[in-house]
Assembly symmetry: C2
Homo-oligomer: 155 residues x 2
DNA sequence: ATTAATAGTTGTAAAGTGCAAATAACAATA
DNA sequence: TATTGTTATTTGCACTTTACAACTATTAAT
């Protein structure tokens, strides 16, 4: 299990770097990695509230508030006061935001294809299946989800 | 491949959070995640130079310089002028640094065991093997390693 | 009506970041 | 040897990110 920990740490670190470099490469440095994660998360959920997204990203709400403002300023996201509760802002991607996100995705997919190209198709299948298993396992374990106010991971 | 990208992004994000929370939980908030990565990397290599570590972590050398100073101040790492080239500082973990790192490792291993506990032993084997494959593939692809001055990932 | 809870925003201060420029040591060469 | 170029690390500076505390606006509970 020790070796798994090491293996994971390396992998996560490297993929983080890869993701970061994709971000500033493709859209003329206008989007940081944190911001790209925000965009992804907004797309993943339908039109989530600020809290919701901040929570999923393990980010303080106040920090998120500023980031959101930044993204809105860049015209990548928009907010709408929720009719059923006027305290909450529902977030959504603008067309430009959608495009930027797709651009980042393309870059990443491209790099991933480079990475996967050294695998046999059997290995590739195994790896893909494993990723699914891993994410499920993380979800089941309850790690990395909010629990009674204390943020994110396993507190 | 799209789905792989999404799967990976989620996974990397969550594991990053997990790692971060392990860092500030176990050793009384004295070590940030970036710093824990520095410690890991110093242990992984024998007694690397500053450049070496900064490079592997995709961190600007100047930023790294400050972080290293901080860690030295906390008594977690030490530096030694390399006899063969007095420009370079060789980094090493102090006893305390080693202990702190081991503590973080234990926390992470613990969480990982929780996560893996929902897998069958066959699945677990598959996943472990896949992680190895992935890291190899990343290394082979040349992504995430320095290339002519431009840092880290695939530039 | 009043009090409590919740979603979001700012003030402020600390930490992290990278670029440019400086220092120090080494390397190459005239 | 003196000079010029290169490399490893450090500092000055400006900018961003971050979180805690305190605030506003809205809803819920009594």
């Amino acid at each position: 299990m020790e070796s798994v920990r090491e293996e994971l740490q390396l992998f996560v670190r490297r993929l983080g770097l890869l993701n970061a470099s994709c971000c500033d490469e493709c859209c003329g440095q206008q989007v940081s990695m944190a911001q790209s994660h925000i965009l992804s998360e907004i797309r993943r959920r339908g039109s989530p509230s600020m809290q919701r997204v901040a929570e999923e990203l393990g980010m303080d709400v106040t920090t998120f508030s500023r980031q959101a403002k930044g993204l809105e300023g860049k015209g990548l996201i928009m907010r709408q006061v929720a009719p059923e509760d006027r305290r909450v802002s529902r977030l959504g991607l603008t067309d430009e935001g959608t495009q930027v996100l797709e651009q980042i995705d393309r870059y990443m997919v491209d790099k991933l294809e480079q990475i996967f190209s050294s695998l046999t198709s059997f290995e590739r299948e195994t790896v893909v299946k494993s990723l699914g298993l891993l994410n499920e396992a993380v979800a089941k374990s309850g790690c990395c989800t909010q629990r009674d106010k204390t943020i994110a991971c396993c507190k």
